[in-house]
Amino acid sequence: MQEILLALSGGFLQAFEPLNLFMIFAGCLAGLFVGCMPGLGSVNGVAILLPVTFLVPPTAAIIFLAALYYGAMYGGAISSITLGIPGASTAVATVFDGRPMAQQGKADKALMAAAIASFIGGTVSIILFTLFAPPLAAFALKFGPQEEFALMVLAFATFIGLGGDDIPKTIFSILLGLVMAAIGFDIISGQPRMIFFDMVELQRGIGFLVLAIGIYGIGEMLWTLESTKGQVQMHKVKVTWERMLAYLRDMMADIHSPWVGSFLGFFVGTLPAAGATPAALMSYGLSKTFSKDPDSFGKGNVAGVAAPEAANNAASTGSMLPMITLGIPGSPTTAILLGGMIIWGLRPGPLLFTENPDFVWGLIGSMYVANAVTVLLNIAMIPIFIRVLAMPFTLLTPIIFVLCVLGVFATTDRMFDTWVMLLLGVGGYLLRKLNYPVAPAVLAIVLGPLAERSLRQSLISSQGDVTTFITRPISLTCILIALALISYPFIQRTIRKRKEKSVT
């Protein structure tokens, strides 16, 4: 405990260095912006802006991106409430009660509740993060390649078991990502693999950033263009300080839903497939079930805004836990952060705590600061962001396209990659129209090389004996949980069928 506090205070000192503090402010602002623009979420912001962070040292870069992740969770509520369109998928549940509140002219109260709840969610989850991360990392140091591989199988199994998408399509998406990661030179034998049409450029493989920007930059913008048709409609919001303060006092007195949401969000957030969106929905459902007045939900209950907002913020911190300690991202956004860490020359995984303590604790310290900064910025800038929301999409779209193209070029210095990005973006858009989940593919392309290496290392060390995965206790546990997760949807379906039979 003492060590944690000591390390944490070091982290705080780092977070207050001028550059890092500036990064926190910049990240929060950028996050609020991408969060509140419909169609752009934390993933898109992190993917598009990652190349820009090569300007600064890794610690400042991850502080910026983590703050952006945070800010986006706050920002999502702004458009959910004022536009009735979730600013990011994570803020879907906020619309349920935020929209009716705005229609009743209480948009400022809803915005305030969202900000306060987000702050509670963020704070609770960072404290949990600080407590859980060091022991988990210490435990993970015992992992060999077998355990690493089993853990990755587990990560992918969560998509199949809990993702809620069509199962064959989810599997397809995971495998597609893994295969794309394998393009280029084989890491063990050095043979070139899958060089289509003998294109020399493919020997370097497809970078994860190319896929991430393609899907989350280009594909997502095309998707948004389609779903909004460039048109949005907005509610008027009156904001005055006196009313804000009055609401604040009200809120502190009688809302409990954010606390439940915070704990729930944190733990759901650590699961790779779950993340902030389901956490927010679950938290909304829970607070509705346990509310004294469940009928008022959906008609403008403040608790219905507070619960999901607390959960999605908590989940964003939660998803960083496996990323920092195990090297397995807890969400698409952290998958991109993880890829970024590899580009910055860091090795994600349990060793990060011992090899780069400055980086880890700087990040954790900055999360505390960023949380406080974002809540202040959020409340102070609500009027400005409402203006920003009126910005037409035909201005934002070309800017984002330009950032995508040049961002990819700046990371790899090859025009070829920008072509691949456009291709993947359009492909991702078409797949998404057919309800193929794209997040597993992004996770898979980041984890692909690691998964293949750990699989082959374990097979080489066991001389081709597959039982090596089930004779080691930790990897056996992971594989058993993974199997349970994969079979979960099937069991669920059989139970439902039996019930239907017994009814008829």
Binding site: P168, I171, F172, S189, M221, P392, T397
Partner: protein, 165 residues
Amino acid sequence: MGFATLALSLGLMWNVWSDGLRIGWVEGRGPGAGMWPFWLSLGMAGASVATIIRWFQRKTAESRSTEPYIAPETLFLVGVSAVSLLVLLILMNVIGTYLSLMVFMLFYVRVIGKHGWAMTSAMVVGTPVFVYLLFEVALTKYLPKGLPIFEEGFLWIDNFRWQYF
């Protein structure tokens, strides 16, 4: 219903196309380097086949949907955006990043967005300046300048920058 069959054929095309790829990967790969991608792609084939079967069984939501795969007006907006990006990428190799960015902005803001000339000119001038400052000055990346004749023209700006800043 016509649209539903369109969606069906597109879905099938996608699947068949990806199946076709897989056949190529199997041959000539030893169990060593090819093992990982081969088994993965086999799994992909399996997942695609499962999707096709579920399609015919009408189990997936898309197979029951009667909505058009892409509505005509969406096709226009999305298609124009995608094509304009393609043109941007082609132009970057010919007339260089900055000029093509200006053309792209002019087209997108003025023609698609139908914004006024003030906004258009601000975007057309502002974007290249911002890009130059961010990528060339701050990140020291040499962005593509296109054919030599355009590249030489750009050297004037670089000379100016190195001389005075």
